[in-house]
Symmetry: C2
Subunit: 874 residues, 2 copies
């Protein structure tokens, strides 16, 4: 039997959104519920996929099926497509599996021609209405199917309105509209070299094809990329009998939500316009009335709508976003869907739905998009206030939140001025690891260069710090300490306001609202904690970050990067001394200076974690990152260190690497300089002993980075264990510590059985693992990934969402091999991916012990972990 591509609403399976799209599935449900849905049919998403596979052509058998199904609807309606007396008109709308509001195209009033419009006029005794429909159709069809922008037609409308001396479309008479139609058709002919199509069948196929095509338009592509919607899902097409909101003053059209999508308040929320069709409501020419108004003007329709709305909410067990039309006093439901909502509303609605008994805690948890929680966790600009200001520049929204302060042009300056109590915004061309301290104290970070995965962006997200990157309009003169934007010069005395959620930069200081964790939020978190299996830890390098993580519910530190500590101003001198050392003794002398500082870092972090495990990663970056590269900085450092410039230059040259990512870093440093691992182990153990003495219960997990071979781990581990045992013997106290490794090199995943035999835990470093598995570096890939997205080779950024096909397969291999060698092995993930909900679900499914993410993403990961557990139980 041939595959069926077209289904009447009453035939379609309302639970199969994959095949019928969200709109089609819900129309099917509403039809079966006996709600007043204009009849019609859905062309499946498979037809869309086939359209693309067939080289963007609709197969003849699908066209046949469309018309065969149309004939059934026509028959039932007692009208006929293109009939000069009693024409059947339809709307054609897209409907993807996931709702993509406004992303794709809609055509109304399809089926009108020069002849049938007269039939419609006669039949309805309402020529004005008929011509209004036709002019709308010509305009929409030309825009959506042919690609002639709406503006051309709007200009013609404006011209006619001016001639007629009217301001509203509704003031145009039937004759005016007839004249307008003639002008539209004339313009169409001139621009296309042919008449506006007069065959409704041609119109219909054109419209269907336009919907299919719209799946690949730039708007849709961007929306999909933002929302992780796969390209191969395709869209369904819904063809529905027209009902008319523009049939006069007893007709109208509107949209409504069952609850307030901004606050979550349980109260019908929406607006409508009488004598109008769908697009008028949003066009903003006439001001729509609120839905409450309908209660007064048309209580019967209002009551019916309220009843239907309530039924829909109960049926779908979620807040609904509905579109309706009133045709000559009769209510029709055009569509319903789970409504988009703000994070705040999502939380409140979820809690309310449970309170109202509409759904279970598990179901309620599944209704909240974990990514949205981000909005609740950072300070924001006041929403009303922000509308009054125009941004002076716009960059990439690299890390959410908002910040205000005076401009600091260097990290040092930022640090000094912040220490003096000033609020500063760090403004840089781009940031580097040396800027860490300045970034840490700034209220926001703003860079002229770099993408969403640049150093500034990654570090800022880790810090939960507002950051805008790639703001090309900034002209920064670091020497003169000036910032020029659109010709206006700003200095260190000027204030900026930076919105990391939108990428907007404003002049002056705008009012902020602090992050609110309302009672409902904590209810949701407590449910999530109840249902999740996966533990959630945070990546934190400082006691402050650790405290934030703990407060957000983290159950340990999954990644404490020790190198960030090395960059701090009072330490880098000793670090540099160590790097420039010629002998082991000199190196050890320098390391001895770092030891107490490193130890005090660990003490601070242990304390903040209150007995939860802390995974400390040993020194990872290549040593050249700690040395300056610019001539002037080198001269200054040589003078400071009292060593010959030539010697310093020689050392810098000797550390040069062609591919630093693939160079002398990670555990390779410990193989070459075991004394570094010795110092770090001593700091870990001594700090633990000290905290335990004061009543603590430290669980230290020493993590060796960049392992690629079991013998390598065995070697470094022996240094760690020997040192730890020596320190504990020296001080006469035992400490709970384990030794594990990051799995971030493909070879480590492949040989995870041998490595697992030596490791107490694996932590998947999916940032590096992604780089090496794909063979491209995060810093360099931005240059070509754009082309990859355009050409649909990759659909999402593998540095944000774990590539489950490739990288994930390696992770699975490593999990299976690691467990086979060591059944007690702890398994976690500590890459940037740890806070990505789809990755969290993957981690749950493959049986990891925990995920670790930046402190501000802990609640997101907790919710995602709960969702994963609930989904896998189903």
């Amino acid at each position: 039997m041939a595959k069926k591509y077209v289904y009447l609403f009453r035939e379609a399976d309302g639970n199969n959104r994959a095949l019928f799209g969200g709109k089609g599935a819900n129309l099917a449900q509403m039809t079966r519920l006996g709600m007043p849905v204009p009849p019609g049919f859905t062309i499946t998403t498979e037809a869309c996929t086939r359209y693309y596979n067939d080289g963007r052509k609709i197969a003849p058998e699908i066209i046949d099926e469309v018309f065969a199904t149309l004939a059934i609807v026509e028959k039932e309606a007692g009208k006929k497509f293109g009939d000069p007396e009693n024409p059947f008109l339809v709307s054609v709308r897209s409907g993807a599996r996931a709702s993509m509001p406004g992303m794709m195209d809609t055509i109304l009033n399809l089926g009108l021609t020069d002849i049938s419009v007269e039939g419609l006029a006669k039949q309805t005794s309402n020529p004005r209405f008929a011509y209004d429909c036709y002019r709308r159709f010509i305009q929409m069809y030309s825009d959506v199917v042919i690609g002639i922008g709406k503006d051309y037609f709007n200009r013609i409308i404006d011209q006619v309105k001016e001639e007629k001396g009217v301001t509203l479309d509704t003031e145009l008479t039937a004759e005016d509209l007839k004249e307008l139609i003639a002008k539209f058709k004339d313009f169409y002919f001139k621009s296309q070299g042919e008449e506006f199509p007069q065959d409704p069948k041609v119109q219909l196929i054109g419209a269907i094809e336009a919907v299919f095509r719209s799946w690949d338009n730039p708007r849709a592509n961007i929306y999909r990329a933002m929302h992780d919607i796969p390209y191969d899902w395709g869209t369904a097409v819904n063809v529905q009998s027209m009902v008319f909101g523009n049939m006069g003053d007893t007709s109208g059209t509107g949209v409504a939500f069952t609850r307030n999508p901004a606050t979550g308040e349980k109260k019908l929320y929406g607006e409508y316009l009488m004598n109008a069709q769908g697009e008028d409501v949003v066009a903003g020419i006439r001001t729509p009335a609120t839905i409450d108004h309908l209660k007064e003007t048309n209580p019967q329709v209002y009551e019916e709508f309220v009843r239907i709305a309530n039924n829909l909410e109960t049926y779908f067990r979620d807040m609904q976003d509905m579109e309706f039309t009133i045709e000559r006093g009769k209510l029709y439901m055009l569509q319903t869907r789970n409504g988009k909502r703000t994070a705040q509303a999502a939380i409140k609605i979820a809690v309310d739905l449970v309170k109202e008994g509409l759904c279970s805690e598990e179901e309620a948890l599944l209704k909240i998009d974990p990514k949205q929680l981000d909005d609740l966790l950072h300070p924001q600009f006041d929403a009303k206030e922000i509308k009054k200001h125009t941004p002076i520049a716009k960059g990439l929204p690299a890390s959410p939140g908002a910040g205000c302060g005076k401009i600091a042009f260097t990290a040092e300056e930022a640090a000094e001025r912040a220490a003096a109590g000033e609020d500063v915004i760090l403004v840089r061309l781009e940031t580097s690891p040396e800027d860490i301290q300045g970034m840490n104290v700034a209220k926001a970070i703003l860079t002229a260069r770099g993408g969403l995965t640049s150093h500034a962006a990654v570090v800022a997200r880790g810090m939960g710090k507002c950051c805008v990157t790639g703001c090309g309009a900034l002209i920064i003169d670091e020497e003169a300490h000036t910032l020029t934007v659109n010709g206006k010069v700003y200095t260190s005395d000027d204030e900026l306001s930076v919105d990391g959620s939108t990428g907007n930069v404003y002049e002056g200081r705008l009012p902020l609202t602090e992050a609110q964790i309302s009672g409902d939020f904590s209810t949701v978190m407590s449910w999530a904690n109840k249902y999740r299996v996966l533990k959630v830890r945070a990546n934190a390098d400082t006691p402050a970050d650790a405290a934030t993580a703990y407060n957000f519910g983290a159950e340990g530190i999954g990644l404490c990067r020790t190198e960030h500590m090395f960059f701090e101003k009072d330490r880098i001198a000793a670090v540099r001394e160590m790097i420039v050392a010629d002998t082991r003794e000199q190196r050890e002398a320098a390391l001895a200076k770092i030891l107490p500082m490193q130890k005090s870092d660990f003490i601070g972090i242990y304390k903040e974690m209150h007995g939860y495990p802390v995974t400390i990663r040993f020194l990872d970056p290549p040593l050249h990152e700690f040395l300056p590269q610019k001539e002037e900085d080198i001269l200054a450092l040589a003078a400071e260190m009292k060593i010959p410039v030539a010697k310093l230059k020689e050392r810098i040259a000797s550390l040069h690497e062609f591919n630093p990512m693939l160079g002398h870093r990670g555990c390779r440093l410990s193989v070459t300089f075991p004394e570094i691992a010795e110092m770090q182990t001593r700091a870990v153990i001594e700090a633990a002993i000290e905290v335990n003495k004061a009543g603590g219960n430290v669980k230290a997990e020493i993590m060796i980075p960049l392992i690629g071979e079991a013998k390598e781990l065995k070697y470094v581990k022996s240094i760690v264990v020997n040192t730890a045992e020596a320190v504990m013997k020296e001080l006469g106290v035992k400490v709970d510590y384990t030794v594990g490794t990051m799995i971030e090199i493909p070879r480590a995943a492949i040989t995870a059985d041998a490595i697992g035999a030596e490791a107490d835990f694996f932590s998947f470093g999916t940032n590096d693992l992604t780089q090496m598995t794909f063979g491209f570096s995060r810093d360099d890939a931005d240059k070509f990934l754009g082309d990859y997205y355009d050409k649909k080779i990759y659909e999402f950024d593998p540095f944000k969402k774990l590539d489950q096909t490739g990288v994930g397969e390696l992770v699975k291999i490593a999990v299976q091999k690691g467990k086979s060698a060591n059944s007690k092995i702890k398994l976690g993930i500590c890459g940037e991916h740890g806070g990505d909900p789809s990755t969290v679900e993957f981690c749950h499914d493959i049986g990891l012990t925990y995920v670790s993410c930046s402190p501000y993403r802990v609640p997101i990961a907790i919710l995602a972990a709960a969702q994963a557990a609930i989904k896998s139980k189903k």
Copy 2:
């Protein structure tokens, strides 16, 4: 039952070299064959492994087992260890699984003490002999077990000889030797603070431990690295009753080969010394006699030795290297092993053994070390002549062969002077891709920097060109065009001779001998071709390389890198024009200039391959490699290209990459600039059509590099196929072409099922695959891999020998997945590893179709492929 660590020679399994080592296994065989072997026992390699696992301690139960076994041998000998009347003496020697001549330690005459030496003197009525043994023992024991260098003792000997007025050791009387012993012991006491050990059991355990320890001495480590011998094999220890060659004029000792190890000639070859012990033969103080001389002086012993030698050769079916001692006219065999031999001898012996019916062709093939063939394939310095010269410097033997010529300091200069008919040696700090042409025409390449895997080394090996890298003694002044070595200045007029097989550099021009492929060599190759399953192709980028490859037996080109063609002087201008282009049109115009050149390259290569397949890899390196980096070169290029310097600099800056290895290269270039792939496809197809017209039968295989995802291959393949079909339609002719990909990114291996569905072939690019799987780059890893070798984390260079555990596992995954998706898929390897025998064996075992290596390694790969097939049949 406890594990047995000690076996009498007659108990041991002569076929188990892994357990008893080569020497122990062969002593067992000889014992069973009834040959005159002094009795003794072998301590297994497992005891050595246990020694290291136990923290370099011999376990008490092993010590007990040693003495229990010793007691058996003592009893049979009727002597007793340390007996004052009739002392039992032993030798202690190492014996690893693979023969490591001279790499580890031997101790003779063990068991002598102040008391037992008197017993020996009395018992043999030969005090001089007894004291000679004792003084030798003290010296050897002090050296090997205690670590007091032999020279201290030799100085004492010289002093005594001077006092006594004699020149030879044998001229010293018993009394002289007694005096010497006193002095030795005195020196020992002074340096050690204790007496020379007088307990033979302590001596024995000390000696055994010394042998175990010697497995980890630097000499042994280097030897193992050179010969791919794993560290964890360990060494066995052989304890054997002493027989004495120093018992007077009817005693002696010697070594002999059953055939000439230099030429392979079938004739006993060796030397011996009367009244001597082992070390005297090699010490060079007395000149040994040739083995022929023994025939005259002691025909009976000679006849017996010849009989034994023949029996051993027949038994072991290979040329033997034997050690023997004559004690008072009686012959003893101390050891036998398959003899080391030159490449030339190896070939001749293999062919002769088959002719003589001693072994089959398959067995004979297994006796030749494929790596050795390298020596036969390059011009060499005359072996006798070279001994007369002292090198002025020594670098790394990066690519074998020899070359003489005048010094050229730049690639351009080399190209010009070579074109003018001069022989030049290209002398550079290091080379870069721009130097290719100069490297190609030079007689040898000599660099001051870079390792065995530097650009110069890799490219030179590919070209089969003599190359020495990392020659630190060179001080090169590129501007002044001078080379200074040890204070002596050389200019462009001076000649050098470079030996790529040893790393030596000589002044002047030394005589060369051309590579000889003798009749025996071609016999061996024809056998190899008969037995191998794996096909062997070559990596070749030029018609000249293709011709060499064809002549050496290559069955196609497995890797033709097109970028080398782009670097040629007359082309790089067009390439740069393409890179600097702002629009697709400009790029296409530049590419149109490259097309005819590229086409003519392919025509040349197709012709040389006479219908064998040619795999052409599309442009691979990042574009910045084609642009200059130095200020002066940039200025010159901007002027040449008639574009503003700023524009060129901007373009260079925009191409900068943090990690070029992980950057915008390979197929990523074709995704961004499809026109490059279009041009290359056109060149491939047009060239094939032209060659076919002239009677050729081209099989073009278009290879897309750096694929990481099936959709990526699909995209690039569609460009290739569309272009190829268009060209064929245009010209009205069909061409046999296929499209495949390199598997060189871990993700490609992991997703090889999806990729395999799109590919006609996979070629494993194991260079890049190794870099990405290990997460270190070839260029940067040299800085730390030394420490890894020292610490036994890695034991071999994964860029030379494929890492079967990690990278090999990915290759296996890809083979299995690729075949599952496409049962007809062709599978090859084209990394540097393709010519490494152990990798060839791996490729055979996992079922690849072919290996591809540099033309000069084709015979090596052919032999290795045959060996792999023969071994897997067994």
